[in-house]
């Protein structure tokens, strides 16, 4: 597969899209873990939801 004289433009485009999509995925996964950890921390201090269910339980 030859990318011709404008290979750098094509490679930069694909690399940038990959980087931004990976950043989005990492940010969302890290945010999920952070919220779960904060919920567990608050519940460990004795504060629970009115329903009595764990706020960290999403199933």
């Amino acid at each position: 597969m030859s990318l011709g004289p404008y290979a750098s433009f094509i490679v930069t485009s694909y690399a940038l899209v990959t980087a931004v999509v990976l950043l989005l995925i990492v940010w969302i996964v890290a945010d999920y873990r952070r919220q779960q950890a904060r919920l567990k921390e608050i519940e460990a201090s004795g504060v629970t939801r009115r329903s009595g269910r764990s706020a960290a339980d999403i199933r």
Partner: protein, 261 residues
């Protein structure tokens, strides 16, 4: 009727979380498989007789450009859900979509620019299509700033919903800018009256990549909505915690005040 029942069921955040926990792994797998197929087809696509290999940028530019408008449309429906139907998850959906839409718009602008330099001889031109998409990007950033500026999510939701609906006027302007004004950007070649003008060798990779990126948006959006629901649970538990602390503080300082009086 069925749709109304489903929407009512999903109004319960706990049910929504249970649903996302079940379907997210399947959505992520389907996205990964379609992206792999799309990337393979893009790599194998022949060179265009005018653009050469630069046509490969189109396979990532067009899906991102399409999603930049689609995400704002999703946020507009969510804004109606907030203002008209007061659906409990509508503002969660709107808030979660904004950063993802901003990322897709940014990628549409940059990949378009990287395609424009070798094809048009310039990275940027202040024509109607490019300028209206830049305005869309700035509106995404403004919306994200608004969500961060107002601490109470329900107050922020109403202001953001109004701004989203006002900004929705930009979507038809972006879509039809190439027909209404004389622009450097080419007119629509896939979704147009009379069918696509693209050869199948380019159309198939483009469609597969468009579906893959749409699935990617749905997956990321559901995951971000789940995070937002958890963030609001954290906030309400923290408020309960704070009120307990202040109640305990008042109870212990109360008799002292009486004693002092």
């Amino acid at each position: 009727m069925k749709l109304t029942e489903t929407l009512t069921d999903l109004a319960n955040p706990t049910r929504f979380l249970a649903l996302t926990a079940r379907i997210l792994p399947w959505l992520a797998a389907a996205t990964a498989i379609l992206l792999a197929i799309g990337l393979y087809q893009s790599a194998m696509a022949p060179d265009d007789y005018q653009q050469g290999a630069t046509v490969k940028i189109m396979f990532i530019h067009v899906p991102n450009a399409w999603l930049s408008m689609f995400v704002w449309s999703v946020m507009s429906v969510a804004a109606l859900g907030t203002l008209v139907w007061r659906h409990p998850l509508a503002d969660v959906a709107a808030k979660a979509a904004a950063p993802i839409g901003a990322a897709f718009t940014f990628l549409a602008l940059v990949t378009g620019s990287l395609w424009g330099r070798p094809m048009w001889g310039t990275y940027w031109e202040w024509d109607a299509r490019l300028t209206s998409v830049l305005i869309l990007f700035l509106m995404y950033l403004g919306l994200m700033a608004l969500w961060r500026a107002v601490e109470d999510p329900s107050r922020a939701a109403r202001a953001a919903a109004v701004l989203t609906l006002v900004g929705a006027i930009n979507i038809p302007i972006i879509k039809f800018s190439v027909d209404w004004w004389n622009t450097l950007h080419q007119p629509a070649s896939v979704l147009r009256m009379g069918g696509s003008t693209l050869d199948k060798a380019f159309l198939w990779p483009l469609l597969v990549m468009a579906i893959a990126f749409s699935l990617l948006f749905i997956t990321l959006h559901l995951a971000a909505m789940r995070n937002e629901i958890l963030r609001r649970r954290v906030r309400s538990l923290q408020m309960m915690q704070a009120s307990r602390v202040s109640f305990t503080g008042e109870a212990s300082s109360g008799p002292k005040e009486i004693g002092a009086a």
